[in-house]
Symmetry: C2
Subunit: 381 residues, 2 copies
């Protein structure tokens, strides 16, 4: 698969942003996080793992983007389609890009926005943000949700990348019997599953969660411990691996040896819930509709567990907007990529969680992950 | 090695924070990022990869920490030593923890700080931060650098974890000849090197950078491409792998087949620079002193490349304070863990970069990575 995107795709993204900025009277948008900067530039590097240096991208309303970045990033940024690249030698303990950024913004006009709503954060020190605001005509305000609006709907090229990530994970899930059986400690399974993901083509594996416990599990965000898998356990692995900058995010459950019939039944019911949501996934359906379609099946309409939601958007982040919760009335449109993630309680504190990835199409939805078999696969007990 | 830390270690960290808070007249500190929250709680999960939900930890000046977190994290947080855990069902589109956090902070007093200086950011939406400030007596101010002061100096238990991460990487580097030789594309090398890191015991591999080019390289933050290694290349791999929540961060250079003598000479000189910095690393030396000790050797005192620095702190983040730059006068004290990371230019745009990890001791320093051989190792050309 081709790496990155055509320049025309980035130009179209900028144009859509500018059209919305113009409607909201914004002179420019300031971006500071990895996915937001990459969305418009294609700037892909794991160097963001280092929190020492801020990075800025400015989208003016009526000209091309301006990168205001540490000089260490100049060579790579120059390979992108961005031509206006302004650098400083970072880290600078007295002025870490702030005056360079202030000069840039002042030249563009008084109305600057930055992503400020749910799931956003400002990736720069608060003290520097205050200094920046103090040197502008007006303090920086909200981007009016423009970034969220844009990133919510994926292009065909983005969908291809997410599908590819899903396929890589699918091949790794198929090979779980090679690495997991009774007696193998969970932390070994985690390590080896990440190796399988890499072997099958993942660029890296930022996220792996899971659990293993008798007949179901209670917590899905704990790190792995050294307890060996044992007969009767359900093993769940949930991966967010990355291919060319895009995530998949789905899981699989496995029975170690034999599990009680009620565990198999719960699994089948949960898979039924993902199909029920898939069936109504089309333009016009809301995120809340999907929640209720699944909740009806997995918890008889009791509004699910305290974990909060039955799925979410997916793309350059592991989790994006919308949220499949009763209060999210986001209307689905073609190109939205979402996860269907119902959980089902078997007994107090013992549950199962399923997850699939789909994309909304003109007349329905398409599976990006190959949906799980209702019958849980078996590992050697 | 034992996972996590004794409760007494967390209690001591809180006590040190409270003593500094008391000096600065702070009633509480608000923390929002993964390493800051984990520093006081031990709360370790890869779930932070999801940017949807904010997480808050409050350190009051005169009582134990309070976790204000999404309910999905309650089970895992309850396994930590923290007993005051307040939860809300997140994401909540109208009040994502803000009023719960505001209630908590109001009960503690009017003077609240949060990390605001270099390398910090606030991991919550700006709009929510404004709402929070509006509901407090005073807006939240700076933490007066307290988090930076504390995290700058590692405990013996933290040093053990970093040393362990370094050893895992060392074993993976030793096995590079198994996966890299002329004809193997760089992206295959990246994938396989991550697999080696996992195989040798890494929990995960958040960071891998590197380069391969004839006789040296120009850029060290680009993702791998599909160009095969070829005779005369220098391959560099730089990894930040994690073991029990702590990073190593160092690199190794390899010659593919034969390289010109001047490349070997440059490598040897660069390694000499790391030893020169190591020799003067002891309490009382400054970060700037280390910069100059290396710069003298690798660039004849020309203040190095535009990349900016010759090393940095290391711990729960891949890069931490201080920075080895001419303007950072941080005085080294026992327990600081730093990287020594000189670069050397061979010809314009062609360079090599070395990196080692050390810890400052009472009477000098200790290598945490086993220092590289001045003679570059060879891969099959």
């Amino acid at each position: 698969m081709k790496q990155g995107f055509e320049t025309s795709e980035f130009q179209a993204r900028v144009k859509r942003a500018q059209s919305q900025m113009s409607q909201h009277g914004l002179d420019a948008i300031l971006l500071t996080t990895e996915p937001d900067v990459r969305y418009f530039t294609g700037y892909l590097t794991r160097f963001w793992e280092s929190p020492c240096r801020p990075w800025f991208l400015v989208i003016p309303v009526s000209r091309g983007p301006i990168a205001v970045i540490p000089s260490i990033g100049a060579v790579l940024m120059a390979r992108s389609w961005i031509t206006d690249i302004r650098t400083w030698r970072a880290p600078d303990l007295t002025d870490d890009g702030v005056s360079l950024l202030a000069d840039t913004l002042r030249s563009l006009g008084p109305h600057i926005g930055t992503p400020s709503g749910i799931q956003s954060h400002l990736r720069m020190p608060l003290t520097d943000f205050e200094r920046l605001n103090a040197s502008l005509q007006n303090p920086i305000g909200s981007d009016e949700g423009i970034l969220q609006n844009l990133r919510l709907v994926k292009s065909e090229a983005e969908i291809d990348k997410i599908r590819n990530a899903c396929r890589i994970a699918g091949r790794a899930f198929d090979r779980v019997p090679e690495i997991a059986e009774a007696g193998v400690p969970l932390e070994r399974v985690y390590r080896d599953f990440q190796r399988l993901c890499l072997d099958e083509g993942a660029d890296w594996v930022p996220y792996l969660a899971g659990a293993a416990a008798p007949g179901g599990y209670g917590d899905v965000i704990s790190p792995a411990d050294d307890r060996p898998l044992s007969n009767g356990d359900v093993l769940m692995l949930d991966t967010g691996l990355v291919s060319d900058g895009y995530f998949c995010d789905y899981d699989r459950n496995f029975a170690v040896g034999s599990v009680p019939a009620k565990v198999d039944d719960a699994h089948a019911k949960m898979i039924e819930a993902t199909y029920a949501a898939f069936e109504i996934s089309r333009p016009g359906t809301t995120a809340a509709d999907l929640f209720y379609a699944m909740d009806r099946i997995v918890s008889n309409g009791s509004i699910g567990s305290d974990a909060g939601r039955y799925g979410h958007g997916l793309g350059m982040n592991l989790t994006e907007w919308p949220s499949l919760i009763p209060t999210d009335n986001t209307v689905l449109v073609p190109g939205m990529v979402i996860t269907l993630e119902p959980g089902i309680e078997i007994s107090p504190g013992v549950a199962l969680v399923a997850e699939e990835n789909i994309v909304i199409r003109d007349d329905g939805a398409e599976w990006l992950s190959t949906p799980a078999n209702p019958k849980m696969p078996r590992l050697k007990g």
